[in-house]
Symmetry: C2
Subunit: 332 residues, 2 copies
DNA sequence: ACAATATAAGAAAACCTTTACGTAAGATGG
DNA sequence: CCATCTTACGTAAAGGTTTTCTTATATTGT
């Protein structure tokens, strides 16, 4: 089946009547050849349909031209979007993307990391994992870029401006007349969540309102959990608030559904803003006002940064913050 | 930074006092060594923390222990699920996954394919692309497995039982009392869609109903498009049906929203079933009855098959059909 | 005890590329 | 016109592994 032998640089050299070194130089545009030679070589490469053997290149240069990306769950739209952008960014640079689902499971994650090290990836992009990086650096001192989360000793990280997100959310709600804004957050109190809360509080203050603990609720950041919290809240305390800022869109949706089912109108009686701008926010009725993270910018920045690190350049900013934006739809 | 030199098989051999050939043999369990030697080698490998250089292996054996997966859009939950399952299946087998988004764009797709060929992937899993495979096979005669779609000269393919899906949908609607069931389908009349229609018609027949052309509507399979179709239909023909079978969940959701906004109750007046069982179907109110594709089985089968093909084994069944199941929720 | 065979292990070639080094021819400067 | 420099290109080593071919030693059968 796999009979046809692969064409190597040697065949090209022979056919073009030059040395393999020259062919290599032309391919890599390293200079040291005349215009005519270049022409001839390029032509024969085209004729033979030669494609370089990445294994040989990798062996020689100690590079694989591939980078690993670790995500908790590719099924999550936010991560998927980043991976997609990363993919197209890297394709243009002839890098490819090795994907790993950690499933929020350390053991699995470590297996993946080991695999990536063995595969000689040139770098790792770590999206929202929670592993101690120590583990990674032990295995190999590879360039690592973190997106979204900020583990303790992470060196290079790319984050959304979560503080601003919280601020924008609060301001939007206030400007639409809310006076008592609930903050429904992910129960895992990560730095991202903390920032969002800070922004939210700043927004309240700027709007002449003040924060109180009874405004803050937390739960596991899933639809079902958020529903339960909302149902319980409504039952126990009644509807003492007139706005909700939820820490992600699924939670926001859960709130909206529970409220609607209880005859409380959104945005009539209560206004809601979510976070992430997952596509579902456009498909609900009413469509959900939310804070959009710029997944493309996140991915782009991560891509550029890791490429720099791979090239050995110093990256000036260890921590870069990507702006977020408010998307006003029908729940405010 | 990257100062520490990598440990090679040679170092291990030296330290263990054997030849590199022996080390290689132990690693690959090829026999030709004594129990004691094996012990000693394994131990030194452990001590040095040696991991094999995949580039060297790939160069020598012409394998990469990686397989490429091409999807139209990783952001689509259906594809993401398959990729996730594939990932964990392959991890256990020490294969890794190179991911490529085709974005339904031929040019991009071909770039990816070229990239994969250069990267020496051992095989390609092609999820729902529409490219003529000819192109792929031209570049290299690699094992290719198709999932979900069936291009013309595809050799090995894994499909869901779409016919059964259509049948189940129709039966469910009929059993809940529907007599006039709309069929809202993807306008691209692919084989999968045709099968679903056939099943639907069989279901009608078994239920004592008959199909007529005015029951069939089509549009681009997106939320917004489906909305428009539904709105137009309602305006022009009124509500002459009492059930809808939509060819995917987003379209089903669009129908439900339009109906609800027009004061038509779901499932009270009209019952709806979708297709795919994307997670959003659980988060809407009411939750959507749908046909679930078994993404895990799809992925597993694809993984097993491609591994067989890579190993050079004949794959007995060129075409395998994975069962689907009806998930009854609140819209029927 | 001796030939025949099986077992364990080493030496070296091959896979394809990059790159340091070498060399010859032509260009430049005095 | 000679010394020096530049340009264009070739030679060969190196990178880590698998695998074929040998060889040395141990085991078996008679």
């Amino acid at each position: 089946m796999n009979s046809r032998k692969r064409i190597s640089i040697i065949d090209v050299a022979k056919k073009a009547g030059v040395s393999i070194a020259t062919v290599s130089r032309v391919i890599n545009q390293n200079g040291g050849y005349s215009k005519e030679t270049e022409q001839k070589v390029r032509q024969t490469i085209e004729e033979c349909g030669f494609t370089p053997n990445v294994n040989a290149i990798g062996l020689r240069t100690n590079r694989s031209n591939s980078i690993g990306v670790i995500v908790p769950d590719i099924t999550n739209e936010f991560f998927a979007k980043i991976v997609r952008e990363l993919d197209i960014f890297l394709l243009g640079r002839r890098y490819s993307l090795l994907i790993c689902n950690s499933n929020e499971d350390y053991a699995l994650e470590n297996m993946h990391i080991r695999g990536l090290a063995e595969k000689h990836v040139d770098g790792i992009i770590y999206i929202s994992g929670q592993n101690e990086i120590k583990r990674i650096n032990e295995i190999k001192n590879l360039p690592v870029v973190y997106i979204d989360r900020a583990p303790k000793n992470a060196e290079v990280l790319i984050l959304s401006d979560n503080e601003m997100g919280g601020y924008l959310a609060a301001c939007e709600l206030i400007s639409k007349g809310c006076r008592r804004i609930l903050f429904l957050r992910d129960i895992r109190y990560a730095s991202t969540i903390r920032s969002r809360k800070n922004g939210y509080i700043r927004g309240l203050r700027d709007g002449g309102l003040s924060f109180s603990d009874e405004l803050e609720m937390s739960c596991f950041p899933e639809y079902g959990e958020a529903r339960s919290v909302m149902e319980r809240l409504l039952k126990e305390k009644g509807c003492f608030f007139d706005g909700i800022f939820a820490t992600n869109d699924m939670m926001a949706l859960a709130c909206i559904n529970v409220l609607t089912e209880n005859g409380i109108r959104v945005p009539g009686a209560i206004k809601v803003v979510g976070f992430d701008n997952v596509s579902i926010t456009q498909f609900t009725s009413p469509q959900i006002t939310t804070i959009g993270q710029d997944t493309r910018a996140l991915a782009l920045r991560a891509g550029e940064t890791i490429l720099k690190m791979i090239a050995g350049e110093e990256v000036p900013e260890k921590k870069t913050i990507i702006p977020v934006h408010l998307i006003v739809r029908k729940t405010t």
